[in-house]
Symmetry: C2
Subunit: 362 residues, 2 copies
């Protein structure tokens, strides 16, 4: 088992990473005899893991309830939140109860916000079961639900008391979801850590094949990189924005196609390539490094080209609407070199279009 | 104008108290030219004060929108919250926007929780317009909405950036609501401050008649007492519980009658008398002091006796369900003397019944 600590003073917490952790009582520290727990999950995930989590917690002497919300991003809503509150109240959960999120980013975001809000805040444990959730959404304390007029518009910064990552849960995850998670993994290397990027170049096929020890190391490294940036900038006023490499381009793709056609990670993969191409146009990133990113993305079985027919000019209106646009300037995360990202608003529309065109079908 | 500072390090904020503040641009500091503001209110209050607040903010150059939720505790819900989010999104409010709560405790609680949650937290200003909100709910950062299965079950600790108390707004408030607010005022004296209790004995009729300078002093004193306890105990893990003097008894009355029949402050008034009687039975508070509290409550035109037909034994089941019950022990706030409260679980049911009986119709 590997471990990462997220350092946030009195709100610090550990992330444990290993194969088979769900079945080990010690993973659930500090839960103990008599503690009340509400597991939040969805039917897809519950089928695989609810019994294991429940029985392990019962071994510890915890009193375990659960509530399932329907599977899918479209249920990341205030209504699902209300379902959770109703379950908590019906089962007489009080301020000493703990919510456990068992699932991907959707479950983690909704359950985390429920924990932040129930009686103004109860304890919260993340058990992320998608690669994206393991390397990204379960770490850092951002919780949210969507509103019909905007994604992630309602939420809280609320830290869990621990994160339990069982790498074996990825075995039941659809391959396409694994690849989508790898897009965020590659992102960490590109933004922060050349050595990790090089490690990924060596081990990408092991990751695709879910080699457990490669996964453990990879997830630990990503969690450490995210934990570091969160410790520096908990509420996303500075550095933490670098995590959005490729995301402004990616959101344009997601919105253009309608959410749910491409996975978020797939759109981010192409977005990263476009950001890399733009960094090259600005004279920072070498041609060679753009190729390295492209090759790694392809090996992760992610798309390397814009969706059918989407033209460079079609990105712009979406990009301008992005919340990272500050006082009328397009703000983008770009690369100075592999392993080093920065924020800039010094790019022209023409440069953005040229960068996108490189990854567009003609 | 009088001022109180709530000292919470980087989240400290000022409370300004004075007659006519709503019409003075300087009250709205730090809002300035170009700032976007969403006023949350209800139709009853908007009729009296929305135009003044809006035009004063427009004088400053702010861009002002508003959203009204229906009047009443029963609209303190997730649905009203959603109305506020929709208004914010429809009018393109972003992370730099400010929510202003213009109203009583219901509006303050809902709008505060909306501010805590919108894009994970935007700026928030309280303009309380009931006496209860001015001396209690607008100070301290507790925000919440109700759930069909429990009051204030969903919310956040979220501090405003300032509180603006215009004592003239009390002129349009129904007299019964003024008296209900006075119950909380008397509570501060009884819990924390004998000198203030004595001041109240001297000035209670001026307060009932809404003498503006008496109100200013009184509200300042209450806000100071609450600010002190909040600074010591922001998230209600200790001292802050003392503010619940009379509330366990009071909640029993409110629940027994069905919420909305007696005002909260009316139930708290009788609850305080019962707590005082119990303190006397335990040998702490003198008979004379119980009389002084009773007299002050009567002068504030508040009830001094349990509602028609409610018997002492009928209080108990509600009191046991109160969230202040910890591990099976009834925990009550009682008085050592006038101006000094403490928490205890050393009371017998019989003592509780005897205390209640003293203020029950036979
Ligand atoms: N809070 C943050 O910091 C943050 C960061 C990034 C993304 N997010 C959010 O995360 C969400 C996306 O998360 P996601 O990619 O995990 O999607 P997801 O939660 O929808 O999970 C993807 C699919 O995989 C299924 N699934 C999950 N684990 C499984 C397993 N082990 N076996 C079989 N099936 C499994 C789910 O039921 C779902 O159908 C978005 O809502 C996004 O906004 C949040
Ligand atoms: N957050 C806290 O710390 C805290 C503390 C105590 C109470 N509360 C909450 O406060 C709420 C009760 O607040 P309240 O007593 O102010 O009730 P309220 O907000 O319902 O207001 C009472 C009535 O007076 C009307 N009104 C308000 N200001 C007026 C004015 N100036 N002129 C004319 N009419 C006016 C309102 O429209 C309403 O009909 C409860 O929901 C309670 O849970 C919160
Ligand atoms: Zn992402
Ligand atoms: Zn009260």
């Amino acid at each position: 088992m590997l471990q990462v600590n997220v350092e946030l003073k009195e709100r610090s917490y550990p992330i444990s990473i290993g194969a088979g952790l769900l079945a080990e009582p010690v993973s659930y520290h500090p839960l103990k005899q008599g503690d009340k727990v509400m597991i939040v999950s969805n039917p897809t995930i519950a089928e695989h893991y609810l019994a294991t989590v429940t029985s392990t917690l019962e071994t510890l002497g915890c009193v375990v309830d659960f509530v399932l919300i329907p599977d899918g991003e479209k249920y990341k809503t205030l209504s699902s939140l209300d379902l959770i509150f109703t379950a908590l109240l019906e089962k007489n959960h009080n301020r000493d109860s703990t919510i456990i999120a068992l699932g991907g980013g959707v479950i983690g975001d909704v359950a985390g916000y429920a924990a932040a809000s129930y009686q103004r805040g109860i304890r919260f444990i993340q058990i992320p079961t998608t690669l994206l959730a393991q390397v990204d959404s379960s770490v850092g304390g951002k919780t949210a639900v969507n509103h019909p007029l905007g994604k992630n518009m309602i939420g809280a910064f609320y830290q869990p008391i621990s994160v339990i990552i069982d790498t074996e849960t990825l075995k039941t995850l659809p391959k396409r979801e694994v690849s989508a998670g790898l897009a965020e993994v590659i992102k960490y290397g590109a933004i922060f850590d050349l050595a990790f990027f090089e490690w990924l170049e060596q081990h990408i096929s092991e990751l695709v094949q879910l080699d457990q020890s490669a996964l453990e190391y990879c997830i630990q490294r990503c969690c450490q990189l995210k934990a570091d940036v969160v410790a520096r900038d908990e509420t996303e006023k500075g550095d933490r924005a670098l995590l959005n490499l490729g995301h402004t381009f990616g959101h344009a793709i997601e919105t253009h196609l309608g959410y749910g056609n491409w996975l978020h990670g797939e759109a981010v993969a192409v977005g990263m390539l476009e950001a890399a191409a733009l960094s090259h146009i600005l004279g920072d990133l070498s041609e060679q490094d753009v190729f390295r990113i492209e090759k790694l993305i392809a090996q992760a079985t992610l798309p390397t080209i814009s969706p059918d027919g989407m033209q460079p000019e079609e990105y712009l209106p979406y990009m301008w609407r992005d919340k990272k646009v500050l006082s009328g300037q397009l703000r983008l995360i770009l690369l100075k070199s592999l392993g080093s990202a920065y924020v800039t608003s010094q790019v022209t529309e023409q440069q953005v279009i040229d960068a996108i065109r490189r990854f567009t079908q003609q």
